[in-house]
Structure formats: structure tokens, C-alpha cells
Symmetry: C2
Subunit: 109 residues, 2 copies
């Protein structure tokens, strides 16, 4: 018995929570929206539109990358960032299922 139903359930919960956590910061939302509006861009372009130090930007990008929402590829001395569309879709589905997973009843309290 590799995985019980309960564990599966919990895994899903942690997955949503993990995505949500990555989205739970205005700077990271801004970065994602900026990236979503183009095919890709360099670190510098992202830094240019944000009012924070490059070290901080770099750290936010790292977290978004670890969450799987973006990816970065070295290109010369620059780094090209873009949305990871597969995982973006996964996250979308994930949230949709989460928000849809509700008993369709009237106001309750």
C-alpha cells in the first residue's frame, strides 16, 4: 500500500499551499504578471520595473523558480526568465479544483 487516501489528500493540500505561498507576496505577483505579458525577458528588465534591490529581486525569482512557476536560463552574462507554462497550468488547475471543491449550498451561518 504505497499511499493511503488520506496521505494523497494531504499531499494535495500541501501542493496548493505551496503554490499559494509562492503567490503570497505582491512583489512576486508583480514579477509573474510582468513575465506573463511577454515571452521572456532578462533579470535586468524585471529589476528595472521594481523598486527593490537586485539581491531581493534575485531571491524572489529563486523562490518562484523553486515553486516551479518560472524558469531561468543563462544567456551570455544575462539570465533569461520566463513563465513555466506547464506548471503554470498545473497551478491554475490546482486552484480551480480547490475553489470548486465546495458543497453547493445556501448561506450557512
Amino acid at each position: 500500500m504505497p499511499t493511503t487516501k488520506v496521505n494523497k489528500y494531504k499531499e494535495d493540500q500541501e501542493r496548493v499551499a505551496r503554490f499559494a505561498k509562492a503567490l503570497g507576496n505582491p512583489v512576486r505577483i508583480a514579477i509573474l504578471q510582468f513575465l506573463a505579458n511577454q515571452d521572456s525577458c532578462f533579470f535586468g528588465d524585471i529589476h528595472d520595473v521594481l523598486p527593490i534591490a537586485k539581491a531581493t529581486v534575485s531571491q524572489h525569482l529563486k523562490e518562484l523558480k523553486e515553486a516551479g512557476l518560472i524558469q531561468g536560463d543563462i544567456e551570455g552574462p544575462k539570465v533569461r526568465y520566463c513563465i513555466n507554462r506547464n506548471n503554470w497550468e498545473e497551478a491554475k488547475v490546482c486552484f480551480n479544483r480547490f475553489f470548486g471543491d465546495i458543497k453547493n449550498k445556501k448561506e450557512s451561518c
Copy 2:
């Protein structure tokens, strides 16, 4: 000129981030799913299904309430909690728009 477009944009970003932040914890996700599967229940019922102290549960509920995702009403010595369906729908739409707001292009980097 009450609000510029840019500010509107930023407000939206902070709104998504605020919802996401509230969802960015497995315990809170578990609470929401538990609540989503019934009309309502008491604090004790929620506490019973979680492996954490009641003080901690109470605090998570407070955050969810402040995010607008749930509501709690005093009922005798107990407190009845339930999903705030209006805001639940709002959050759903909010995330959907966020995830939909992406240039429909091929892999970029």
C-alpha cells in the same frame, strides 16, 4: 482623478497576494477544505481534526476570517464557522483572472 490605472493594477496585485497568503499554509488549506465540505461547524469540530493546539487553530481561523474567506458567529458558548461564499467566489475569480492573464505563446526559454 481618484485612481490611476497603475494604482488599480497594483491594488489587484495586492489583492491576489493577500488571498494567496491566506491560502499559503497547509493547516489553513485543511481548514478550508473541511469547511467547504459542509454547511458549517463549530470550532471544536475543526480543532478535533487537526493535530495542533486550540490556540493555534484559533489564530489560523482569525487569519482566514481577516482574509474574508470564512466567517464565524457566536452561538451559545460555541462559535460556528463557515465559508464566506461571496468572498470565496471573489477569490476564485481573482485567481482565475490571474492565471488566465498570460500571453498565449509557445515555450519561450
